[in-house]
């Protein structure tokens, strides 16, 4: 189609030269092979033009993971002083259709950085999260956005809560919560820490076997130098070792073992907890729990 298009008359396409014995050759469609040949020709000239925008759009539709085509496009957008808002609109559509791609997000970051105004971004991200609320690239972009535009307090925590309401096991949302709390460098007040403890307890109540809140609270306590034993009563509630039939969380057992192992007079109880994990509550990790038991015994005799 480029060959017949008068707009491209002056361009001599640059076909791909794979040599005699290529590795991992791909059966390209004719459309892709032709477009790539024209793209190479204008990239070689470092041409900044409207048609460069057109052809890069075409290529990224067929191959959104083409790393240099995005960089080239960014240069053309800036050089032509093209409307960045419409570039973002173009990226919205692209991102929704190519969820696994990270180049799109890198490009978006460059555009947004230049634009300097994040209006509409969190709304679009929500749209992405409706398709996959654990999309790694999108979360990464959101962290960048929050830092770049200093929008830590513009609804981040509320948004995390909304996502967790939908899926309490969304570990990406838990991670973002940690980022919002500690990513600014200084530790939050005791009042906020108490609120987090309560929030975590409520999440555990909904799904005791969900690892995310257990990991989260360990992280929070360690960050503010509070002992794990702060959470001992909660652990015992979900892991009454005296009555194994009522144990509902392997993570409670694990944390309990850590708490008990830290005190010489409860070390034997820690062994019991590890034993329960190895034999009954987490048998896929029998080797690991036994290893922990051995470490504990060694520490006890040292």
């Amino acid at each position: 189609m480029y060959q017949e298009d008068s707009e491209w008359d002056d361009i001599i396409p640059l076909p791909q030269d794979d040599g005699e014995l290529p590795l991992s050759q791909i059966a390209y469609t004719e459309e892709y092979a032709e477009a790539m040949a024209y793209l190479r020709a204008i990239m070689a000239k470092d041409e900044c033009s409207e048609r460069a925008l057109k052809i890069t759009k075409h290529i990224t539709e067929m191959n959104p993971a083409h790393y240099t085509v995005w960089l080239y496009r960014a240069k053309v957008v800036f050089a032509l002083n093209a409307d960045i808002r419409s570039e973002i609109k173009f990226l919205n559509d692209k991102a929704l259709r190519h969820e696994k791609n990270y180049q799109i997000w890198h490009h978006r970051q460059m555009m947004m950085d230049k634009l300097g105004d994040p209006t509409g971004e969190t709304e679009f991200i929500s749209q992405m999260f409706e398709k996959d609320s654990k999309n790694y690239h999108v979360w990464s972009y959101r962290q960048w956005l929050v830092k770049r535009f200093d929008i830590w307090d513009a609804g981040e925590l509320e948004y995390v809560e909304k996502l967790l309401e939908k899926d309490i096991r969304n570990n990406s949302a838990w991670n973002h919560r940690f980022f919002v709390l500690f990513g600014r460098g200084n530790n939050p007040s005791q009042e906020i820490i108490d609120r987090e403890i309560k929030f975590t307890e409520e999440a555990i109540f909904l799904a005791p076997q969900n690892p995310s809140p257990w990991n989260y609270i360990r992280g929070v306590l360690s960050r503010v130098n509070m002992p794990l034993s702060t959470f001992e009563a909660v652990c015992k509630h979900y892991a009454p070792t005296g009555n194994p039939s009522r144990i509902t969380s392997s993570h409670a057992l694990d944390m309990l073992a850590d708490i008990q192992a830290s005190r010489p007079d409860t070390r034997e109880e820690a062994e019991v907890a590890l034993q329960l994990l190895a034999e009954k509550f987490d048998p896929i990790r029998t080797n690991y729990w036994n290893h922990r038991k051995v470490l504990l015994q060694k520490a006890g005799t040292a």
């Binding site: 590795l23 991992s24 791909i26 191959n63 990464s140 991670n175 940690f178 990991n215």
Partner: protein, 404 residues
């Protein structure tokens, strides 16, 4: 239930899969990996090497031809492009050296038995410090300067590029970083500090500080630290929590994991309690352990073939691979994600197809766990021990040894 009979690796089928990848065109679906053909090529060659068949099922002419192809993608200024698709005929800002492509090119050459005589080794070593950022991480490409634009480092912040840069340094500088003392090294301490700051609150490692722990990123970080000789407190905040995070990536296989996504959704929405329970059932052996158990890459995600490698290799580097349930993983790969035409699928779902990445990493994971019929591999370099030994027999490695 009593466990079904022990599965075996259907080696001839895997061999045929890789022969097809090497000898015929890949289907159009691979178009989105067009710029990463060096990676696909590396995996295809390395897979036959792991299966011990490279010298027998490919001819010296094949191997020579592929070596030529790799060198065609070397840039005159050093480093490699990811594919001839990026070749613009003459030097250009838009045909830059790419750190992943450079790593996979060198690995492919070593796998194919090339002596690296034509490799622009000094130029690559000179490139590495230019790829490093202020925070110790690495970019993906270095765009050459033009009349009106300066040399520009580009790419996301990503632990993968850290790994590639460190592995290139290890391979090309030689023992303990001693080769080419006249070429300035990148700032190793900064890179180590970057990795350390990327260990998350749950013990796993992310692409950057405060990101979510991810097994692929964790592998890149651990392998990099090991190649730098810094698997200590300078590189990790806590080895114990890392180990714990890694072993917790193994998850029991539930019936629903082997179902079509839509079927499971339908049960969730309209099924009875019994149907839901049956879908979430875990089949266990007489010892109470799950019969099948693969690995996922992040907390509360689904098991996926490649994570058997990313997690397994990380634990192997830490000398803690024995902590996982090797049998459950082996069965997951050999009974749930292997494909009838050879290779491995990403997920244990019906209607899936094998792909190059998952087929290679599935084999590599089994190799780590001493599967019969697969050569031993070096977990940090992700190549066979034989290939690693060939690399270490090269001049600059021998010179490095005599200097110590």
């Amino acid at each position: 239930m009593s466990a079904p009979p022990r599965p075996v690796l259907d080696k001839p089928r895997h061999v045929r899969y890789w022969q097809r990848c090497l000898k015929t065109c890949l289907p159009e679906d691979y178009t989105s990996t067009d710029l990463n053909r060096m990676t696909l090529g590396c995996f295809s060659v390395a897979a036959l090497d792991l299966l011990g068949e490279l010298p027998f099922l490919t001819s010296p002419e094949d191997r020579h031809g592929w070596i030529e192809w790799v060198y065609r993608n070397q840039l005159p200024t050093g480093g490699f492009r990811g594919s001839p698709a990026a070749d613009l005929g003459s030097a250009s800002r838009w045909d830059p050296p790419n750190v992943s492509a450079t790593f996979f090119a060198v690995a492919t050459l070593v796998n194919l038995g090339d002596g690296l005589e034509r490799l622009k080794r000094r130029e690559i070593l000179q490139l590495l410090p230019k790829l490093q950022r202020e925070d110790g991480s690495f970019g993906e490409c270095l765009l050459p300067a033009t009349e009106d634009e300066p040399e520009t480092l580009v790419g996301t912040t990503d632990m993968r590029f850290v790994y590639m840069a460190v592995a290139l340094r290890w391979m090309l500088r030689g023992q303990a970083g001693m080769g080419c003392p006249d070429i300035p090294d990148f700032d190793v301490d900064k890179t180590v500090a970057y990795i350390r700051s990327s260990q998350s609150y749950d013990g796993g490692i992310s692409e950057k500080p405060f990101g979510e722990s991810h097994a692929g990123m964790t592998y890149c970080a651990i392998a990099a630290l090991s190649l730098l000789g810094r698997l200590d407190a300078s590189g990790l905040q806590s080895v114990d929590s890392l180990t714990k995070w890694l072993v917790h990536r193994q998850v029991p296989f539930e019936e629903k994991d082997g179902m079509d996504e839509d079927d499971w959704q339908e049960i969730l929405e309209t099924g009875t309690e019994e149907e839901k329970e049956a879908a979430m059932r875990v089949e266990r052996g007489a010892d109470g352990r799950p019969i099948w158990g693969g690995f996922h890459g992040r907390c509360n995600k689904k098991a996926d073939t490649c994570y058997s490698f990313w997690v397994g290799a990380s634990l192997e580097i830490l000398k803690k691979l024995y902590l996982i349930d090797v049998n459950a993983n082996r069965r997951f790969l050999l009974e749930k994600t292997k494909h009838v035409i050879g290779g491995f699928m990403k997920l244990p779902q019906p209607g899936g197809f094998p792909d190059i990445l998952h087929s290679f990493l599935g084999l590599a994971a089994l190799g780590l766990m001493r599967e019969e019929g697969i050569n031993r591999l070096d977990a940090a370099l992700c190549m066979s021990m034989q290939a690693k030994e060939r690399l270490m027999a090269l001049d600059w490695w021998a010179e490095g040894r005599s200097q110590i």
